[in-house]
């Protein structure tokens, strides 16, 4: 078949040359564009003009747009398999800091760790966290961290440059010392062993800046083994603490706090049979633990021996104590009786061997060994023996040390005689530091080979015997750092890396499959923990004689770790922790002298009351211990023994530690002395100076003023009449329970009496009838939180968790003084009792956050509706809409709204107006900003912000539930503060769900203890509180004994 030919027109058929030409020329009409000079004379000047206008406008726009800020967002060229942008990954790891060990889960987003939460699989801490643990992400991104190895204070580019020098130094012979903090990692111990094997002259010295030598040695004397047993606070019915801050800083506070609060949980529905552990505390200063005690008495720290001896006699012989303080004697009698009932536990924070031997004897006498004290799984947090360190420093000074490798400790700062240490260090030829920064010690060392941050490392930790927690890297090392263990192995001439060793060790022990599972879980624990006792074989009489002979002074000083800063270390340069108010004094950004109100007023012209509470200027006092001297401002603190002052360590750092830490406060380690063990208390002389120093105190008023914002009952009263609080609530709002045109219910019958009380109906009637306006129906989800005042110990882990989760800005000391801090969640602390009698002081902690009122006063006053209510009961902020009138903050009865007074974080549209104070500024560094949670907006200057109930987590939880196709349940959502709380004091969920914990807590289990803040003003908060129950004889708050209120302090 021949091919057919189609033509489109006669022209094509004819196929003339003209036609061919026109086909060849596609654009056969001339472009109507005249580019010649006579544009305006062209045939179509108007069109061309418009075209040129259009083009040039567009060009100008494009050119002008070149000023757009360059955003460094780099897409994955090849997407890693396990990273989905926007979806977080979680890795189990372990927080290790100077012996402090907490199993954690690290949240990473696009490969960077942004949030650390406790590992709930661990039975030790059960998901609890501490402020420092949560703040570790910020320390990871610390700008001050060294970015490469250093020799003689100068950076070098390769590890070879340091390795050769160090190895030749080590090979030169002479005594080699490896100085570390407590190492509780089995594989690290292996690598140390390899190192020691290579260098026969090498020795490993363990040194803990905050020492527990006294306990270790006392246990050796008492039980024949140098260890610290496992304390089971959850099993204790009576806890007696002699100066041990076991909820704040002593040994393993997260674990103890969790155990302690188990014994203190009360359910209203079982009120009649309620039991609660009783906590006695004897101490010189007011610690956070003391603030939680049921009964508390004070003594000088030099009298700890006497007090322990008196308690020992009272327990064993029933002899009446005679300590010289009536309160204390009375308390010791009571405590002895309670301890003898069984399940008692006595602990002491003293580092005096003899005091600890007496404590051991008491525990032995009351049968604590094997019940509340377990010897089967001893604690491995602290192993340092002080005398070893002192011997090392002596040897250094004697020129007997040729090489010193320092890991994890900073003796130039933390050792009581740092000057002597530095003098000795100069005589050591090869000095190596593994510090992550040029701190006080590292800057004097010849070589600095920085260790990885633990978030960048492999590793393991053994908090207790048989309990292992693994460390997994959550990010590739940010800088040219090398694992401490790798350095040791390298210098030991080993071929493999630490990771090989680690894998080989655990594979060998567990097998690959178990090891993989263990890494994923983060922990290995014995299936059934055995508890065993031990028999006491110490010489009590000798210990009593020696401990009682300790001489005190007129005034005594206690050198302590505060809850935020701990022993110091890198934490001093962590702005989150610096700005975290101390639980007891509510001071941020400084250390200071804590002193009793009476002494301060009578001797040192400093007052707790009047204008002094709001004046940031505090008098400077000069403290002298021996020939050491520090000058610090005084913070008047009720509950301090009249003759005791207390100062915290961790301040007064050198420039190399970082901007936030440098020269802030004073170093108080020099006030520690060595007396066989380090002694953290000493006689002191105090001089008044005429100078003042501004201190950032976040809470200036100390009394709750008997206002119905906190309810406290004694256990006895609560058991007698659990319904007292219900009656008080009824009385306060009785008239608003019925609609105006209805008759008032007579009596209480409408809601049922006693345990028949219908808390839900009561609330609903008040909600409906307490207002003239129609009430919004609450359907579906309704978020609510319940906070148990009984189990809140004030540790502030939630405060830091909130800060980390919600990108809450740090404002710096000056702005804290101006009361312009940004914390969404704060912990209010109120004192009651007689400030002139420290033994009467009672303390209550109350977490305070946006109450998410359903009838929120902030919402109706906003002129632009920037703050409004969600259908799920959230009081929410539309930052973009906010114009910053601050009216909402003024009208908030709880004053929990936070205004962005400055451009704290570079989110402002103005250039160059970032707030800077020279101290907090590293927080805006590009590196440090990696800590920001990408799910939460960084707020700009001039807008209001506040707690959002972690709305991003709620949204995430809702999506998860939706994907699962189930209704949303408690396990789908946890707010940051809730998951941080080791004590389970925060319950959160959907209150419309009758199975939710918060519903159960409010209306079923604990309706007897339920209250809302300022209920009578009908703002209808979605945060409720549970009353505080004290296992004591009298509640001071509001009683005639409450001089803090009666004298209006």
């Amino acid at each position: 078949m021949s091919q057919k030919k189609y033509w489109k027109g006669l022209e094509e058929l004819a196929n003339t040359p003209e036609y061919q030409q026109s086909v060849a020329n596609e654009f056969n009409e001339e472009l109507p564009l005249d580019l010649s000079d006579n544009l305006l004379n062209a045939t179509t000047p108007r069109r061309d003009f418009l075209k040129f206008l259009g083009f040039s406008t567009l060009a100008a726009t494009v050119a002008a747009s070149c000023e757009m800020p360059v955003r460094k967002a780099i897409p994955y060229a090849i997407k890693p398999e396990d990273i989905i942008p926007g979806v977080p990954n979680y890795y189990a790891s372990t927080f290790v800091d100077n012996g402090d060990i907490i199993p954690v889960v690290v949240k990473t987003r696009e490969g960077r760790p942004i949030m650390i939460e406790g590992n709930t699989l661990s039975t030790i801490t059960a998901g609890g966290s501490s402020a420092r643990m949560v703040a570790a992400t910020l320390s990871l991104y610390d700008k001050t961290r060294l970015r490469q190895p250093h020799v003689d204070g100068k950076p070098v580019d390769t590890f070879d440059a340091v390795d050769s020098g160090i190895m030749s130094g080590l090979a030169a012979g002479g005594a080699i010392y490896l100085l570390t903090g407590t190492i509780s990692s089995p594989t690290t111990e292996q690598s140390i062993a390899q190192f020691l094997a290579k260098y026969p002259t090498a020795k490993h010295v363990t040194y803990d800046p905050v020492s527990y030598s006294g306990m270790l040695l006392a246990n050796e004397a008492s039980y024949g083994s140098r260890m610290i047993p496992n304390y089971l606070f959850e099993k204790a019915k009576t806890i007696f603490s002699l100066g041990a801050d076991f909820l704040g800083t002593w040994l393993s506070p997260v674990e103890f706090s969790k155990g302690y609060t188990i014994g203190r949980k009360i359910e209203g529905k079982n009120a009649k049979t309620a039991e609660m552990a009783k906590h006695y505390q004897v101490e010189g200063m007011l610690s956070m633990t003391g603030a939680n005690a049921d009964e508390r008495a004070t003594c000088k720290p030099s009298e700890y021996g006497k007090v322990a001896a008196a308690l020992y006699s009272a327990v064993t012989t029933g002899a009446a104590p005679n300590t010289g303080s009536k309160n204390l004697d009375k308390m010791l009698v009571k405590a002895a009786a309670d301890l003898k009932k069984g399940n008692g536990l006595v602990v002491s924070g003293s580092n005096d061997v003899n005091v600890q031997i007496i404590i051991n004897a008491i525990n032995n006498a009351i049968g604590a060994n094997g019940t509340t004290i377990d010897f089967a799984n001893p604690l491995k947090y602290k192993k340092g023996i002080d005398a070893d360190m002192v011997a090392l420093v002596d040897a250094m000074n004697a020129g007997q040390v040729s090489s010193l490798l320092i890991h994890g400790v900073n003796p130039a700062y933390e050792y009581f005689d740092g000057v002597k240490f530095l003098a000795g260090l100069k005589k050591v030829k090869t000095t190596v530091s593994f510090s992550d920064r040029l701190d006080e010690t590292a800057k004097e060392c010849k070589y600095v080979v920085s260790d990885h941050h633990w978030l960048e490392s492999w590793g393991d930790a053994e908090p207790k015997a048989n309990y292992i927690s693994f460390i997994q890297p959550t990010i590739a090392p940010l800088f040219k750092t090398r694992a401490f263990q790798d350095s040791l192995l390298k210098w030991a001439g080993a071929t493999g890396t630490y990771h090989d060793l680690f894998n080989a060790y655990w594979n060998g022990k567990l097998g690959q499959a178990t090891f993989d599972k263990a890494l994923q879980d983060g922990i290995i624990e014995p299936a059934t923990p055995a508890v065993s006792g031990a028999s006491f074989s110490g010489n009590v009489a000798d210990a009593i004689a020696k401990a009682s002979a300790v001489k005190g002074g007129e005034y005594e000083i206690v050198v302590f770790q505060n809850v935020a800063m701990g022993h110091g270390g890198a934490w001093s340069n962590n702005p989150w922790l610096q700005e975290m108010p101390d639980p007891v004094t509510k001071v941020a950004w400084d250390n200071y002298v804590m002193m009793s109100p009476k002494t301060a007023k009578e001797k040192f012209e400093a007052e707790l009351t009047s204008i002094n509470q709001v004046d940031p200027k505090k008098r400077l006092l000069k403290l002298k211990v021996g020939n050491k001297e520090v000058t610090l401002p005084v913070i008047v603190t009720p509950g301090m023994h009249h003759n005791v002052v207390a100062v915290a360590v961790g301040y007064g750092r050198s420039e190399g530690v970082g901007r936030a830490a440098a020269n802030l406060g004073k170093n108080t380690y020099p006030l520690v002395s060595f007396n066989g063990t380090f002694t953290y208390n000493a006689p002191v002389t105090i001089e008044k100076t005429a100078e003042f120093y501004p201190v950032a105190v976040t809470q200036t008023h100390n009394s709750a003023e008997t206002r119905p914002i906190i309810y406290e009952y004694t256990l006895e009263k609560f058991k007698e009449n659990p319904y007292e609080l219900i009656d008080e609530r009824r009385e306060a709002i009785e008239h608003y329970l019925t609609a105006p045109n209805e008759e008032h219910h007579e009596g209480h019958d409408a809601y049922g009496k006693g345990d028949k009380f219908d808390a839900k109906k009561f609330e609903e009637d008040f909600r409906k009838n307490g207002t003239h306006y129609p009430v919004h129906e609450s359907m579906g989800l309704h978020w609510a939180m319940s906070i148990d005042l009984n189990t809140c110990t004030g540790c502030a882990a939630c405060v830091i968790a909130c800060q980390a989760e919600n990108n809450v800005s740090v404002v710096g000391k000056d702005r804290v003084i101006k009361v312009q801090e940004m914390s969404w969640l704060k912990i209010d602390r109120y004192f009651s009792g007689d400030p002139n009698d420290p033994d009467t002081i009672q303390t209550v902690f109350q977490p305070m956050l946006c109450q998410h009122c359903d009838n929120a006063p902030c919402e109706n006053v906003c002129p632009v509706s920037a703050t409004n209510h969600s259908s799920e009961g959230l009081n929410q902020m539309a930052y973009n809409r906010c114009i910053g009138t601050k009216y909402c903050a003024n009208n908030c009865p709880f004053k929990v709204r936070r205004f962005n007074w400055f451009d704290w974080n570079g989110a402002d549209c103005f250039d160059d107006n970032l707030y800077e104070d020279g101290r907090r500024d590293d927080i805006n560094d590009d590196l440090t900003r990696m800590v920001l949670n990408p799910d939460v907006t960084v707020r700009s200057r001039g807008v209001m912000e506040k707690c959002s109930f972690c709305v991003q987590r709620l949204q995430d939880g809702k999506l998860t539930a939706k994907k699962e196709g189930t209704p949303l349940k408690d396990h789908h959502v946890k707010t940051a503060c809730q998951s941080a709380c080791a004590n389970g004091c925060i319950t959160f969920g959907n209150v419309n769900d009758k199975e939710s914990a918060v519903f159960q807590d409010r209306y079923v289990n604990n309706k007897e203890r339920l209250f809302y803040m300022l209920e009578s003003i009908h703002v209808l908060p979605n945060v409720s509180y549970l009353s505080k129950i004290r296992n004591t004889d009298v509640v001071m708050n509001g009683s005639e004994h409450d001089e803090v209120y009666n004298k209006h302090i």
Partner: protein, 477 residues
């Protein structure tokens, strides 16, 4: 015995045997003369203050509200204190123009022009504070119910702050119209007297072609009356609404039903004091003692003692209610207000506002020019403290004791306040130079019946016997 045609009590409203011509000449003199050195000095000082204020505001807008001393407990400080203070001052003008016009109080003619000018300038000053106290002032238009593409998204009509926006802008608009319409005949007078072309041109424009016909005057009168009727409720509404900023809140010390009348009385109190301050200066500087007489000052002083006493009763009522209510927060709020760390501000307020005006019960003191001047300033200091007490010393001790704090202002806050003084006096000095400070036309209305000239004529009448008088009276018109 002679009959008394004239009141025993009322003194003449215009002293000095003035004719219409004299009146015009006297009042136009400052406009037609070169200003004095004192005027230039005043203007330079005012401009310096204004400049410093502008710099302070720039500083605050650039760096953030944090440069002020306010904090998250005390979210309003000098800003809103000054706002309420200036708005309060801005009350006297309209009260004098509108309410006294309706009540036919002829003495108002001597002072109303200056008082209205003061009102307008005071409201201008007041308006600066709510604008620049915003954290994001560049988004200030969100408060206006403008059609928009954001949804559309409207302001929150429940918010008292939004009511303020409407109340203040309405008040400003009506006051400005009232003031300007009164100025039209006087501008025409100046135009007619003008000897330079430019002046003739400008005042000609400003007087809207006023020719002084009967029709003109009839409409002028009608407009005055309408505007007076419109402004009368505004006098009460503005400060009532300002008081709602506080009264509609839940904060003890703010949440009070007494606030509207108490604020209005306070506003009149401070407004009259400010009018007194200014008029005593103006009459001295421009030699207008014959128009702004001791009688005027005394009348103002009488209002001051009345409103001062009302305010005093309000203060005591607040204390009584705090006790009587038995609400712990209310009681404590007042306890801390009176005896707390800010006790001095409360007692400054009490002394200045309640005690000091009581001296005006004595006629001698009421008519003492120096005393009146000092007291007018004392009252304004006291009224400033009243606002400070209401705002700062309420917020610093509210429900939750852990939040309690203290507040002291910083230089940008002080600068902002001084800047509004600069703005105010700059405007006022320009006004006193270029505008007739006394309403020429209106003073002429009263001249015939209450001036010295009329007084003399009346004296002659009073000499006459009853019959003669009746005869004259019957045939007079």
């Amino acid at each position: 015995m002679h009959l008394k045609y004239e009141s025993f009590i009322r003194e003449p409203l215009v002293d000095g045997n003035k004719t219409y011509k004299d009146v015009t000449a006297d009042i136009c003199r400052p406009i037609e003369q070169k200003p004095s050195k004192l005027w230039y000095f005043g203007l330079v000082v005012s401009l310096l203050f204004l400049g410093f204020g502008a710099f302070s505001v720039f500083w605050e807008v650039y760096w953030g509200i944090g440069v002020w001393g306010i904090n998250h407990t005390i979210g309003w400080g000098w800003d809103i204190t000054n706002f309420v203070w200036w708005v309060g001052i801005g009350h006297a003008g309209t009260l004098i123009s509108a309410i006294l016009l309706l009540f036919r109080q002829h003495w108002r003619t001597g002072v109303n022009r200056a008082a209205e000018a003061m009102t307008i300038f005071a409201v201008m000053c007041a308006g600066q504070f709510p604008i620049f106290h915003m954290g994001r002032v560049w988004d200030a238009m969100y408060v206006l119910p403008l059609p928009n593409t954001r949804g559309p998204l409207w302001p929150n009509f429940n918010s008292a702050l939004l009511w303020d926006v409407f109340a203040i802008s309405t008040y400003f608009t009506v006051s400005l119209l009232f003031w300007y319409s009164g100025l039209i005949p006087d501008f025409a007078t100046i135009r007619d007297r003008a000897k330079t072309k430019l002046r003739k041109r400008l005042y000609g424009l400003a007087s809207f072609g006023w020719t002084g016909t009967a029709k003109n005057w009839q409409r002028f009168e009608a407009l005055s009356l309408v505007l007076a009727g419109l402004s009368t409720p505004l006098v009460l509404s503005v400060h009532t609404i300002v008081s709602f900023d506080f009264a509609t809140s839940v904060i003890p010390g703010w949440h009070a039903t007494i606030f509207p009348p108490y604020f209005v009385a306070g506003a009149i109190f401070s407004g009259f004091a400010m009018v007194n301050t200014l008029l005593i200066l103006v009459r001295k500087i421009y030699h207008l003692e014959e128009y702004i007489t001791m009688g005027h000052i005394e009348a103002m002083n009488k209002v001051i003692v009345l409103t001062g006493s009302i305010v005093g009763i309000a203060y005591l009522t607040e204390l009584f209610m705090a006790w009587y209510s038995q609400v712990v927060y209310e009681q404590e709020a007042f306890k801390w207000r009176v005896l707390g760390p800010y006790w001095w501000s409360y007692w400054a307020m009490m002394t200045c506002n309640v005690v000091s005006p009581q001296f005006f019960w004595f006629k001698k003191l009421r008519r003492n020019i120096v005393f009146s001047f000092i007291l007018s300033i004392v009252v304004n200091i006291g009224m400033w403290f009243e606002r400070f007490v209401i705002i700062a010393t309420t917020l610093y001790r509210d429900y939750i004791p852990s939040n309690w704090s203290y507040y002291s202002p910083t230089w940008p806050e002080l600068g902002f306040y001084l800047g509004t003084f600069g703005l105010f006096f700059t405007c006022f000095l320009l006004f006193s130079k270029y505008f007739p400070v006394i309403a020429i036309a209106e003073i002429k209305f009263v001249l015939k019946t209450t001036g010295d000239k009329a007084h003399e004529d009346n004296l002659a009448l009073e000499e006459k016997s009853l019959e003669e008088f009746i005869h004259i009276a019957e045939h007079a018109h």
